[in-house]
Symmetry: D3
Subunit: 67 residues, 6 copies
C-alpha cells in the first residue's frame, strides 16, 4: 500500500520512460519490503527548472540557460 | 489549521466540483476533529494519467489509452 | 484513485476520529468527483505544535504554551 | 540536506523572484540550522486559484473572480 | 536531482531494508532517466496503520486489529 | 497564503531554532513575493537519518554511524 511521489525536472521524459519508472519502483517495493504491487501508487511530478533550486540557485541558472 | 493535499488524475473536474470538494473537506475537518475552517487550507493537484501509476502500470495504460 | 494527505497538529485525535475522517474524505471524493473508493488512499500526519507555524509563529506560541 | 517544498498560488511570479526565494530559503537554513547549502533542495509549485482553498472557499471566489 | 518521497505503513522495516530501497530507487532513476545519483534525494516516511486509509477504512481495521 | 513544507534530518533542532526558521520563511515570502504572513503556513518535518538518502546512501551511513 505504499505511496511514492517522484519529483523530477521537466526535461521531456517520454510516457514510456515514465511507465518504466513506475513499474520499476513498484517492483522494488515488492522485492525489498514485500509490499503488494496492486495497491502501490506512484505519482510523478515534473517541475520547471525555474522552480527547482539546489545549492541556492535555480536549475535554469546552473545549466547556464538563465544568464 | 489543517493542511490537506488532494491529488487526483486530470480528468476535467470543473471549478464548481473542486469548490465543492474544498468546502466538503473543510466542513469534515470541523465536524470530526473540531478544526477551525478559517485556517484550513486545501490544495488540489491534477496529475496527468501518464504520471500516475497503480499496480505497476500507468493509469493511461490501465484505461486502455496507452496502446 | 485519489491520494489525500491530511496534516493536522498532534492533539490526541483518537483512532475512531481518524477512521471517521478517512471514511468521510473517501465518501466525499466518490460523491463529488465519482472517484472509486477502493483505490482512494488517505494518509494523516500529526505534527508537533513546535513544528507548525502560521502567521510567522509556531502554534505552541500562539496557544500561549511557549512562553 | 534539507528539502523544502513551497506551494503558492499561480500569480505570475517572475523567474527572478523565484530565484531570489530559492536563494533566501537556502541561506536561512544555513544561518538558522547550519544546513549545507550545496545539498539544500527547494521546489516551488504554483497552484491555480481554482485549486486552492482556505476557509472552505477557493481563492478564485475569495478574490471575487469566481462569480 | 530528483526528490523521491516514499510513504509506507510502519511495520518495522529494518535500517538495512530501507538502505536497500534508497539505493535501488536511486539506481533506477539513473538507469531509466539518466538522473545524477549524487543529487538524488530519497525520504522514507513510516506511517502508523491508524493513520493510513484505503477503501475508506484504516489499515488497522482492514488487518483485523481494529475490532 | 503560501504553504511551506521543510524536511530536515532529525538532529535535535531546538524549539527556538524552529520558531526562528518559521518566522524567517514567512518574512521571506512577504518580502520577495508580497505574500500575506497571516495566512502563510509552515510545517517542519524531522526525518530519522536511516530514512533519508542522498547519493544512493542513507545519511546514517554517510556520517559513518552505520557501519
Amino acid at each position: 500500500m505504499p505511496y511514492v511521489n517522484i519529483k523530477i525536472t521537466k526535461d521531456g521524459a517520454s510516457a514510456e520512460k515514465k511507465a518504466e519508472l513506475i513499474s520499476g519502483v513498484t517492483d522494488l517495493l515488492r522485492d525489498v519490503l514485500g509490499k503488494n504491487p496492486q495497491t502501490t501508487v506512484v505519482v510523478i511530478e515534473e517541475i520547471d527548472t525555474h522552480n527547482w533550486g539546489i545549492g541556492g540557485e535555480t536549475v535554469t541558472r546552473r545549466r547556464g540557460q538563465g544568464s
